[in-house]
């Protein structure tokens, strides 16, 4: 492993609000949004919205803004949790009150490079506890271990009115899936480097990578907002009605990493989507975490069956219940050596 390199593993924060205004958080003006992103230390690279939500590609990952929900996912050495005080302040001005929070992350490759409050999970939890209002009284923090280098860190908080609504943080009949992939296939990872001497824009180069790598086929009906960084790295957001998907790639050898995340309806073919994702990267090791109202155990067997077909063996499986979030599953896999 390299002594130090770019940290691909993201931190992910999801905040839920209630209030009367149907446009809610989408009314936040750009200077307000800029303040939030300044606190995290990232900027907007490209963006698109539809009648359900706004999707932003950031210099370090992605932001999704729904009227009553915001999801920020950032990698590198960003200080994601520092956005909370600023965000809650702006939400308050818009007449919105926070009613749920979920923070998740994998295991950093370079933990010693992380700044406060991301120096350790206990530090992160302490910062969350101090930043969230007392009304979010149902709280739980947990590290879900595995037999690989991957581990899943989860924190959830919910208020009195919402904690008993099973799956309040995911929505009815939908689930959120987060996939973290390490040790990407070297030949496939090379496709996420800009061609030498290529002078096209990050937008245009991103579009080329989406097509050349097979990412465009993962959810063909989605509108893709993509960007290629210089000299390497790639980010995309997919917008498909009310559902988002997102992929981020750090292709450098020694600490290569790719993530895939999407929200899907319970009836959709999760297995097919996972197979397509795996074919794009062929990671040596990967983890899959699903947040679902119920049926976590059944989800685990569907995921394991799909990945077995494309040459991956399950190494571990955990299911944990969280207030308001429902079940969070965490499975790890490694590629079957011939």
């Amino acid at each position: 492993m390299a002594v130090s390199g770019f940290e691909g593993f993201e931190k992910r924060l999801e905040l839920h609000f209630y209030g009367d205004d149907p446009m809610g958080l989408r009314r936040l003006d750009f200077s307000g949004l800029q303040e939030v992103l300044d606190a995290v230390q990232c900027t907007v690279v490209s963006a698109v919205g539809n009648c359900f939500f706004d999707a932003y590609v950031l210099s370090e990952s992605s932001l999704f803004v729904y009227p009553k929900k915001m999801i920020i996912k950032t990698c590198g050495t960003t200080q994601l949790l520092k956005s909370i005080p600023c965000l809650l302040g702006h939400a308050d001005e818009l007449g919105l009150t926070v009613c749920g929070c979920k923070y998740t992350r994998g295991n950093f490759i370079f933990p010693e490079a992380q700044p406060f409050p991301h120096t350790s999970f206990s530090e992160e939890v302490m910062y969350l506890e101090e930043s969230l209002p007392n009304s979010l009284c149902y709280r739980k923090a947990c590290i879900m271990p595995s037999k690989t280098s991957h581990a899943w860190h989860v924190y959830t908080a919910s208020d009195d009115d919402h904690h008993q609504m099973v799956g309040h943080l995911v929505g009815p009949n939908t689930f959120t899936i987060e996939v973290c992939m390490t040790q990407l296939d070297a030949a496939l990872a090379r496709k996420f480097f800009r061609r030498h001497g290529d002078r096209s824009s990050g937008d245009a180069a991103g579009k080329e990578m989406t097509a050349a790598t097979g990412i465009g086929e993962i959810s063909p009906s989605a509108l893709v907002c993509d960007f290629a960084f210089d000299p390497c790295g790639y980010s995309m957001n997919g917008v498909d009605g009310p559902h988002y998907s997102t992929i981020h790639v750090t292709p450098e050898d020694g600490y290569s990493y790719a993530s895939f995340e999407c929200v899907a309806s319970a009836g959709g073919d999760l297995g097919e989507v996972l197979k397509k994702v795996v074919r794009v990267f062929r990671p040596g090791t990967m983890s899959v975490s699903i947040c679902t109202g119920d049926g976590g155990v059944e989800m685990c067997s569907r995921v394991a069956a799909a990945l077995r077909v494309v040459g991956y063996d399950a190494r571990s499986c955990r299911v944990e219940d969280f207030p308001a979030a429902g079940s969070v599953t965490f499975q790890t896999f490694s590629i079957r050596r011939k």
Binding site: R26, F30, A47, G49, N50, A55, S201, L223, C225
Partner: protein, 167 residues
């Protein structure tokens, strides 16, 4: 078009922001207001004074009525200039992100016409043009769609304008 009290506040602050983005001095802000009032009065066969023509050049022209929209399209066809139409919505964050940049482009490129259509205000236009995501930029030349950019993608927008605008 139905506005609640909040909508109106929000909408006018957005207009003020885009007027400020285009640049700036009172003269130009005033020109923007003139253009909006004019659009609402929906006069046809209007003869443009030199001042009015100058006022529109270098700004993003908001079309608030079907008449104003059709008239701007006609003008675009007649002038043979590249027309870039920004389909936007008041509640769309990415639209607010790109608005100041579009203002800068309009100022830098007086030989390109920049139009702005709010998809809630001119619903029928948005439907006819199959606008599903915002912002969507349509590139027109002599009444024909020659290209489009979906999303607030600064570099792509700039490159496509350079590609299509006459030298």
């Amino acid at each position: 078009m139905h506005f609640s009290g909040d909508d109106v506040r929000f909408y006018s602050s957005k207009l003020a922001a885009s007027a400020a983005a285009v640049g700036i001095n009172q003269g130009i802000s005033f020109a923007c207001v003139v253009c909006i009032l004019y659009a609402d009065s929906s006069l046809s066969n209007k003869i443009y004074t030199k001042e009015e023509k100058m006022a529109e050049e270098g700004t993003v022209i908001s079309c608030h009525s079907l008449d104003a929209w059709n008239e701007q399209l006609q003008k675009g066809n007649d002038s043979k200039k590249l027309v870039v139409v920004d389909f936007t919505a008041s509640w769309c964050g990415p639209c607010r992100f790109i608005a100041p940049y579009l203002g800068e482009l309009a100022q830098m490129l007086p030989d390109v016409t920049f139009l702005k259509v709010d998809v809630d205000e001119l619903k029928s236009v948005a439907t006819d043009w199959a606008i599903e995501a915002m912002p969507t930029f349509m590139f027109l030349k002599e009444g024909k769609i020659v290209d489009k950019v979906v999303g607030a993608r600064k570099e792509e927008l700039q490159q496509k304008i350079a590609m299509h605008k006459p030298n």
